[in-house]
């Protein structure tokens, strides 16, 4: 199989080797830079407009600080989820997809879909570097769907501000959103359940752990636990998955 270096590597199943390639690090550094630039521009524009709407200098600092402090917990919680998924997407991959633009639910589900179109599963037989690169590219393009709609819809909505807020329209959109997401995620769940005893047990463990965490969060009024629930539940159910081979369940 050692034809030429490039052909040989793209057939390799060592996906983490390409997951840390400088191209992807460069891409994530650029996304960080763009968000930083946007934040600076927005902050300066907002500070300049602030006195006009009755926000003095102190208020500007107060609002900025309130946002910074309030997001510390959620940011750490998202970081935990991202770290858990590094072995799936690589460090630059999770920074960009899980930490920023996307979400664990969308990106993991979408990665599974793309692997499926290539006739394989994440880490399954035939999950080569080439398939991995295709997964990353597809979820980036698909993730741009939200941005594209934001870019097109925001100026239009600004002109017709108000129509969306009205009862029926808002209700219909909420209903379509809930139906789409529950439809998609219940289908994924059933597909995993149909995948064998191992995935079924992990699925049940994950659901049970999440339910208990959310119950504890509610019963003892620990709001922080709600934010951390997905990260904790992911680690706990993956830890459970690692003992499955020892029990003879592949």
């Amino acid at each position: 199989m050692s034809v030429s270096a490039t052909v040989a590597t793209s057939e390799s199943t060592d996906v983490l080797a390409v997951a840390n390639s400088p191209i992807l690090w460069g891409s994530v550094a650029a996304v960080f830079a763009v968000i930083t630039l946007q934040t600076v521009i927005y902050f300066r524009a907002a500070s300049r407009a602030a006195p006009g709407v009755g926000l003095d200098k102190k208020d500007v600092t107060r609002a900025f600080r309130a946002g910074a402090v309030a997001s510390l917990g959620p940011s750490l919680a998202v970081s935990l989820i991202a770290i858990t998924l590094i072995s799936v997407f690589g460090t630059p991959g999770v920074l960009q997809r899980i930490g920023l633009i996307g979400s664990a639910a969308f990106d993991v589900a979408a990665a599974g879909i793309v692997a499926g179109t290539e006739g394989t599963t994440i880490s399954g037989e035939g999950y080569t570097q080439q398939v991995f690169a295709n997964v990353l590219l597809c979820i980036a393009i698909a993730g741009a769907g939200w941005m594209l709609v934001t870019l097109i819809a925001t100026p239009l909505l600004k002109r017709g501000q108000g129509t969306l807020e009205r009862g029926k329209n808002r209700g219909r959109m909420a209903l379509i959103s809930s139906a789409a997401l529950l439809g998609a995620f219940l289908c994924f769940t059933f597909q995993q359940a149909a995948g064998g005893l191992g995935p079924l047990l992990v699925l049940l463990a994950s659901a049970l752990i999440m339910a208990s965490l959310l119950y504890v969060a509610k019963a003892f009024e620990q709001r922080w636990l709600q934010e951390w629930a997905l990260g904790i539940s992911l680690i706990a159910s993956l830890a459970f998955a690692t003992v499955l081979p020892a029990l003879g369940i592949a």
Partner: protein, 241 residues
């Protein structure tokens, strides 16, 4: 308030509006471009076929395409035009940005629907973005990279193998917990079960678009089956963000 003051108010607001409605889209397009460019170059280098990319994107679109439209439209009334360009690039809207905006508005005593409230929320999102980028760079960029080097390969394989069921179990429970919709849940569960456990074994080709089928069926039935009137008035959306 004198008329002069009112003029400076509208003037400074117009300047803010002009800056954000120009630079918001510019930065978002730049973000979108660099985020696709990296994986795109990698895919070219590894010889990924364009057909495989199109197939993958279409398969995701069939499942999540509806959500691309619904989520920005649902968040617009909550975020306002300026923050839309921030929120859909930074992500984590419902769990981080909205709470940060609400905290900031109450810190400066501003009502959400006012210009004062909108500015407070833009500033809060700036603060949230600063924290988020710093935490990500330190916790994930540095610590995560060190961590992955010491993880044994068997553990990596195990995580890859079971990541889908591990995420799905938790996410479904979280969705139902955050926004219980028994009627839609029942429709989605029955529809999904028929697609996965009946149609897929009968017609193996269904497996390629099973999820898309489940999504379309759930939307169509939720909009038409009896009981929708009450659901339409409630208007709380389940979101992915």
């Amino acid at each position: 308030m004198t008329s002069l003051e009112q003029d400076t108010t509208t003037g400074s607001w117009a300047a803010f509006d002009k800056t954000t409605s120009r630079w918001g889209p510019i930065t978002m397009i730049a973000g979108m471009t660099v985020m696709i460019l990296g994986p795109g170059l990698l895919a070219i280098r590894l010889g990924v076929q364009p057909g495989a990319v199109i197939a993958g994107v279409l398969a995701i679109a069939a499942t999540f395409g509806v959500v691309w439209f619904v989520e920005p439209l649902s968040y617009f009334p909550l975020l306002g035009p300026a923050s839309m360009y921030q929120a859909f690039m930074i992500g984590n809207i419902s769990n981080k940005l909205l709470p940060a905006a609400i905290v900031a508005q109450s810190a400066v005593d501003a009502k959400p629907e006012t210009k004062r409230g909108q500015l407070a929320s833009v500033l809060a999102i700036c603060g949230a973005a600063t924290t988020h980028l710093t935490v990500l760079a330190l916790a994930v960029g540095i610590f995560g990279t060190l961590l992955i080097d010491v993880i044994p390969p068997e553990l990596v394989t195990s995580v890859q193998t079971y990541v889908l069921p591990a995420v799905m179990g938790s996410v479904v429970v979280q969705m139902v917990w955050a926004n219980p919709q028994p009627r839609i849940f029942l429709i989605a569960a029955v529809g999904g079960a028929i697609v996965v456990f009946v149609l897929t074994p009968l017609f193996p080709i269904v497996s390629y678009f099973a999820v898309a089928l489940g999504v379309i069926a759930t939307i169509a039935l939720s909009l038409t089956l009896p009981g929708r009137e009450k659901a339409l008035e409630e208007g709380l959306a389940t979101t992915l963000e």
